[in-house]
Symmetry: C2
Subunit: 709 residues, 2 copies
Amino acid sequence: MASKKAVVRKMLDAVRAAGRTSLTAPEGKAVCDAYAIPVPQEGLAKTAAEAAKLATKIGYPVVLKIVSPQILHKTEAGGVMVGVKNPADVKKGFAQIMARARKYDRKAELVGVQVQQMVGGGQEVIIGAVSDPSFGKLVAFGLGGVLVEVMKDVTFRLAPASKEDALSMLDGIAAAEMLKGVRGSEPVNRAALSTMIRNVSQLVADFPEIAEMDLNPVFASKKGAIAADVRIVCDWNPPAPRYRPKHDDIVRDMNRIMKPDAVAVIGASDEAGKIGNSVMKNLINGGYKGKIYPINPGAGTIMGLPAYKSVKDVPGTIDVAVFAIPAKFVAQALTEVGEKKIPGAVLIPSGFAETGNVAGQEEIQAVGRKYGVRLMGPNIYGFYYTWKNLCATFCTAYDVKGHAALSSQSGGIGMAIIGFSRSAKMGVSAIVGLGNKSDIDEDDLLTFFEQDDNTHIIVQHCEDLKDGRSFAEVAKRVSKKKPVVVLKAGRTAMGARAASSHTGALAGNDRIYDDVLRQSGVIRAKALREMLEYARAIPKLPTPKGENVVIITGAGGSGVLLSDACVDNGLKLMAMPPDLDAAFRKFIPPFGAAGNPVDITGGEPPKTYQNTIRLGLEDERIHSLILGYWHTIVTPPMVFAKLVVEVVDEFRARGIHKPVVVSLAGDVEVEEAAEYLFDHGIPAYPYSTEMPVMVLGAKYRWARGAGLV
Amino acid sequence: MASKKAVVRKMLDAVRAAGRTSLTAPEGKAVCDAYAIPVPQEGLAKTAAEAAKLATKIGYPVVLKIVSPQILHKTEAGGVMVGVKNPADVKKGFAQIMARARKYDRKAELVGVQVQQMVGGGQEVIIGAVSDPSFGKLVAFGLGGVLVEVMKDVTFRLAPASKEDALSMLDGIAAAEMLKGVRGSEPVNRAALSTMIRNVSQLVADFPEIAEMDLNPVFASKKGAIAADVRIVCDWNPPAPRYRPKHDDIVRDMNRIMKPDAVAVIGASDEAGKIGNSVMKNLINGGYKGKIYPINPGAGTIMGLPAYKSVKDVPGTIDVAVFAIPAKFVAQALTEVGEKKIPGAVLIPSGFAETGNVAGQEEIQAVGRKYGVRLMGPNIYGFYYTWKNLCATFCTAYDVKGHAALSSQSGGIGMAIIGFSRSAKMGVSAIVGLGNKSDIDEDDLLTFFEQDDNTHIIVQHCEDLKDGRSFAEVAKRVSKKKPVVVLKAGRTAMGARAASSHTGALAGNDRIYDDVLRQSGVIRAKALREMLEYARAIPKLPTPKGENVVIITGAGGSGVLLSDACVDNGLKLMAMPPDLDAAFRKFIPPFGAAGNPVDITGGEPPKTYQNTIRLGLEDERIHSLILGYWHTIVTPPMVFAKLVVEVVDEFRARGIHKPVVVSLAGDVEVEEAAEYLFDHGIPAYPYSTEMPVMVLGAKYRWARGAGLV
């Protein structure tokens, strides 16, 4: 290991010393050789005999190329011959090339002829590496030519990539089938190709100064893979990794911040309409049981509580300070917070980077780092932690306890979270505003919620990830335990432009986000309502034990649409075994359709729903149920809802937990039925065939990523 | 024209007479020649001199191939030479091929050597034609190789294709860029390629017995396009076109059926719970003002109205008969309906094709055809026509008048339509069940609603189109006047399977549906709720006069998500001209972001929303507005909603109508605000950035298809 690094280190140092940022072809080859990245064998011959000897060693056919510092356009000079097949032709070729080169430029220094292994055939692919401002080094893979250039069919992984990562890239492109051999071609050597990807990823991970690398084309065949061309570009001043506190320190501080026993409100006020007043009201009226210290230059009492001029005057320990003062006073107050050894500051004030005041933000970041104060914000609404009855915010209070922890980079999205949560009676453990993310970011929250027993799902809206690499590492670990949902805004070129004007954040290439989030086990939501529905429904669903989904429907028409939605959401409709098919048929009319969907037909009494749902829960081969209800007089909506809850509860009592989701087609009474079902832990949607399947699909995506199904 | 048809007719007759279904290569060439479809020139040479003469006429290089009935594997026999470049080589080649063939098979009859134009280079594409059970003849186009075979990147048009159709195919594939010249290659000759597509489409349209045609590969270059290989397969018993009544007859009959002055209820009953009782109740309680004739063997009076044993006993004219009797009695009663010259029968009963009783369905179809009675159903819930207060159904009554006409193939989906309509206070003109579609289908409804002034949008759920070609023709015409939305269920392979088990309908290739629906100007919905939201919102939106969309948002975070949604929905965010940018900046805080989205920032008073929205409506360069509202104390939800309505109304009064849609982020009060906005003709959605943009995008798709924007 040390030796291969030493080879490359020496090579890069020489390139740097030469004042270059790009490596020459021989330098690139040497780097590839050190990392066992196959490139064509080659050598320099000074005589025809040497050329023939070299060619025989490399193996035929070979390519011959003139080597001369003065001749840059080799082909123009007649200095290239391809497909040379035997020693005699090599000797003849050597002489011809030297003669033509001499004729082309009488004064040129003719060093000799390069003899190179001739490659080609198989499948053309591209392997590359890029440096992303958020994710750092990434390795890229795609098929050569039109598929990458026109269809943009390329996939990324964080570097270094594991063996599994590298192999997953071969299946991670739309044209993956091409690698398995189509139209009579042979499949590529997956081991060789994925090893090459790994080696490239290791190289760029080992050398931060390698900014870009391109192996294009790589010829992948049954025998192996070889890069015909290598391009390496360096950046001699690579960005330094972002500062990250240690895991245990994050956990310790975040626990004090999110679940404080004592809160200071800097800028607390008795005056209605002031932010410092709203925060005080929310703390007191929200039922927070810890100590509240109003901080105000006027001291006295505020809202009946003794006030202090500074946090330093407070006799006891303080866990978190909520700032409700103008931006220009923040740095000074933050210094006092630091001197008081308060671990966290909730910076509601705006007027920092989002308005162009980058210096102001850097100033408070420096203060925070100096004293070890973690900063939430600035430019945020604050946060809620319901299990402590804590509303550390100037927005409306929210107190429905539950198990979803949500965060948003934007205040508007935060308000939508609160409105939806209240409307849908969605209990939450926490709602957190992250705003400018001068310090505390999504991975700090993940680290906290990971060990917070009140949180069962973590849902995050973000416009960028300041440190995508840390996020990916943490998310990969956390998502094994709890579902993590991310709505990454600025997905599209237009959206990305809006994101820049909004927060000054550089939105990354969305394909990179998409690949890295998936690899990290994150469920990605594409839109706001989708994110909110995931937050509400996913924690209600038990983890499926397998991929077999069965649709039981009273409305055949819903069955078709539910099936469409299954495909859209990557769910597998179970192929119904004959015995199970027969068992279902016993319960449904002769003109009903068994198979999957099980179409029980529309006019059936409650018993038919009961029997078929019971069978679906009973049979171990079935792992999840999607129910399609059709409103009829025979089985009215609430009768249906109650029987579903009854049957599901019966099985829960027996320890049998399977995801059940419901689509209700009917008159307005189905809305009450849907609410009843949701209240009893069964996600149910009126007038929609897409939403129940979408949330079930998300649960599956998570469970697959976590290795649970 | 006649002569080219005569050539092909003669050729096909000969193939048929020979008992074959496939054409030989020379036959295929002859057919292509007749329709000016370029294929390689070729000829048979019996001597070396003839071969050289022929080759010189065709142009070099040429391909030489042995012609012998006994030699099937020409290459194996050494009977093929490619790339022959001059007369001398042709002569030499002729001799060599003949000699090798003789050596290969001493007894073979050597007819001579085929001299063929050698083609290649440029872009490989595929042109083909297929016969679809619903749409009939279609022409297909895609890029050769991996793009068609692995990526399934292919596009279809109804045959014959117009010039515009054919040209649109070149842009209708994902890899369209390839045809414009990438990676240094030259662009293809679009005129030549599209002409070839048109000629193929005309050929298969002229000859129904040509079931399949494949030109693969076609080499398309800057010079032109030429098909290297032609495959034509015939079906000597092509399906007969479906019977379609004449347009004027459809209009006349559908008007009497949908807007009847007299309704008979066959199977009317006083007994609660019976379908015939529910229908009577709905008619009477719904407030229908026309005549109602209960028909029942017991006669007497039913629900206070005189009943008759048969429709034939009714003294006056009847426009439509609603059937509420078991399947087995339908044919007889339908005969009486025919004898009474009633133009339409609403067949609620199930027990026909959907339960396997295909014969029963064919029987009633025959009766309907014999007497000229149009059949709605069987196996339906009936229909509603609100402007006549008509609920000809056994389902719950629905009476909110409006301008959306909806239909569904499935009863369950019909119930979801009713529930959603009621819940969302969506006025409808009609809701129609089509069920088994033994006769009346989507294009009959389109034809009726086209001329129905109460209907402004037509929304249809279907699992198949029995006659996709008629539908496409009618939809193309109607969608120029009124938006047509289609939810085609069974989009996916799984969904298609469920559709088959449900209705016995053969679901077509979804790519064909997708292409034909788009070409017909139809807005396709992918899911149930999406369809319903389109029905509700699209008629509220005025037709945009151009593509320039501007987002004005209080929540920067919503702005980013709304921008993402614009890209997803094919909307163009206007590039803000400097003067307009400056005009917006006057109204927003200095740290707000102008550009597009216009980010007015969160803490602004109503005036800022007013000023910026007014500017957006005033400036003629802006064609549509997307508003992002952020709930604050400064501008509460209802204050915002009212100011938006006020400003929009002010411009409406001045004759300025632009689409405005709203996304509301905030606490639950935003729900009331959204409802208020919707009630005032402004589609608005709480907790969602995707839905307002989705409905605006649909309006644009329609307007573009209708040539209005």
